[in-house]
């Protein structure tokens, strides 16, 4: 536990990342507006840490994961990746250099059924990244795959089978073996356990933690499930309509949220204790559309603390106390309720 208090080196630095999708109308495909999926996002991921990323549908968290890996081309911003002694902007690399960098960042997907090629055996699936990265051949390659199978808890006799022979949890293990094959420094877990049954989810979460202890990679853990995110993350970032609204250490975010949206999100999670008193914050209205972001603070139409300034001025992303960032004009004056009992 004590190593977590030492300041870790920065692995990834994202600055003002933007992803705008043009909205085209009519025969002439005139651009009438933009879906601002990401609207100027800045944050860092430290070596070996697990950074949780939460938000609701349409907030842009999956888009963020894809842009970091450059699985889609962002509209603007930088993604600085520290590999060894060098720092590269992932967004500016040529496809040749990008291919080399890709082995240092990998992804685990949500759907264990569509993320594995049904025509490839387990051996094919896991060795593919090693072959593409020219990291191993022949016997050495096969041995590495066997070692990975052991690491993720799969039996060697399954090497020649196809994905349809496995359960959701086992497929996810195959996906994890594939992701760690190249020894990446960063793995983006995009809702990696959301499609799994509860008891299997726990197995996979434990596996991810064990692998991190052994290999030391950082995780960007994207999820909508707050309990899961709290369990696995060191720090957590909260997204709303294409922007970050809060970022803090796990315990700080849950005990002392500083953004009204975070407060509302925490109060919405149903409590498994039948005796607990319930006081839910009801957000009026629906989540805003990234095609039609409100002026000023994007959360103001639903915020019960909103004042005049919130309607017209976009709040700045500020570090209000050590390692606790928030985008809100009035957060220092607000007494928001966290999840732990105050008494």
């Amino acid at each position: 536990m004590s190593t977590k208090h030492k300041k870790k080196p920065v692995l990834l630095e994202i600055n003002n990342l933007k992803m705008y999708f043009p909205i085209e109308k009519g025969l002439m495909k005139r651009v009438t507006g933009y879906v601002k999926a990401l609207d100027g996002i800045s944050f860092q991921i430290m070596e070996g840490e697990t950074l949780g990323l939460v938000g609701e549908s349409g907030c842009g968290k999956t888009t963020l994961g894809r842009c970091i890996l450059r699985a889609m081309e962002p509209t603007g911003g930088t993604v600085n990746f520290n590999i060894g002694t060098k720092t590269v902007d992932v967004l500016k690399l040529t496809s040749k250099s990008l291919r080399k960098v890709r082995k240092d960042m990998q992804m685990i997907f949500q759907d264990p059924y569509s993320s594995l090629d049904p025509r490839m055996t387990v051996l094919d699936i896991i060795k593919e990244p090693l072959e593409i990265g020219k990291l191993a051949h022949g016997e050495d390659l096969k041995n590495r795959v066997k070692k990975l199978m052991n690491l993720v808890g799969l039996e060697l006799k399954h090497l020649n089978r196809f994905p349809n022979a496995f359960s959701g949890g086992q497929r996810q293990r195959i996906g994890i073996a594939r992701a760690i094959a190249t020894n990446p420094n960063l793995i983006i877990c995009d809702e990696a356990v959301s499609a799994l049954d509860v008891s299997v989810q726990a197995q996979i979460l434990n596996l991810l933690q064990e692998l991190q202890s052994e290999i030391g990679m950082a995780y960007l853990f994207i999820s909508h499930d707050l309990s899961v995110v709290e369990y696995i993350s060191d720090r957590i970032a909260v997204m709303y309509v294409g922007g970050l609204v809060e970022l803090a250490k796990s315990e700080d975010l849950f005990r002392n949220p500083k953004h009204p949206y975070t407060e509302a999100l925490l109060s919405a999670v149903p409590n498994p204790d039948p005796d607990a008193k319930r006081s839910r914050i009801h957000l009026k209205g629906e989540v805003s559309n990234t095609a039609n972001v409100p002026t000023g603070c994007s959360f103001h139409p639903r915020c019960k603390y909103a004042q005049q300034k919130c309607f017209s001025e976009k709040p700045k992303w500020k570090e209000i106390r050590q390692e606790h960032y928030v985008a809100c004009h009035f957060s220092s004056g607000l007494d928001l309720k966290g999840v732990y009992k105050t008494s």
Partner: protein, 350 residues
Amino acid sequence: MSEILSVEDLGVFFSLDQGTLKAVDGVNYTLEAGKTIGIIGESGSGKSVSAQAIMRIVPKPGKITKGRILLIQTQQEMMNLYKMTSLPLPGKDLTIDLASINPHGDLIRAIRGKVISMIFQEPMTSFSPVHTVGNQIMEAIILHRPSEKKQAREITLDMLDRVQISNPSQTIDEYPYQLSGGMRQRAMIAMALSCNPSLLIADEPTTALDVTVQAQIIDLIKELQQQYGMAIQYITHDLGVIAEITENVAVMYLGRIVESGTTKQVLKTPLHPYTKGLLNSMPRLGNMKKKKLKAIPGNVPIPINFPKKCGFNDRCSEAIKGKCEKNIPALVEIEKGHKTRCFLHSNEMD
């Protein structure tokens, strides 16, 4: 204490090439007006198939092979029901065994949507994409409330308003794809409640929704239950939702109920190793001590040609050698209202 539905020793089997898949194998529970029972289970537990059995929509080759599903009605309700069919009134009998009636006949069709309604996990796949939301809700009203045919549109607008859709007069003429996930689910609830059912079956209705929308929907369902007085069977794996809205709960595993009781009893003092395993494997918000998650090892087995033993034996850390792998424990009451199916608590066999 007015019972509306009594499920007795229900069995639903699927005849497959590999053998007989026993999806539901001897399930008993009751539903009361104004109360909510939670059904907890994971994939393969039989929770969805038992709900489908009540509605008689079990997909082929599934069949109800044993048991009864008794729907209990008042004299007036029985008369109203049979009026919709070409069948003669069954005399003084106030119960209908849903398991034995024709799954394609007039009677079950009169019951579906009017007496028992169901809402599903994926509203996008339960709505017809080529009809407006309004038309689909009105269809149910015209079918089940024929005397109010002319007011169908008004009733629909009122229902959309009750489920807190912000602009009912706009939504009524929209297609499902035009609504967000939360709005679609509300529209589905409006459709399910449009004919004032006595029983609502909700099969994971909020699993696919964002947490803030889920909170609104479960508050809404609870409110509507108070207004309408219906019984609710709520199927979910989310213990938080169970704790918030149910008074009683049944835990299902491999086609059987392994524990049942009040929500407080089952969640606070679980008896069955599976229930305890589930509770220990879920991350809880506010987990200050960062207790490591204790996962249940292994996977849920497939109930085809399953040997005579406790379904949970192979994954159970407390299994009694020589006993649990040879016999099936019976569901036995251990403390008042709290039952479990486990040799650790009783020697009775099934």
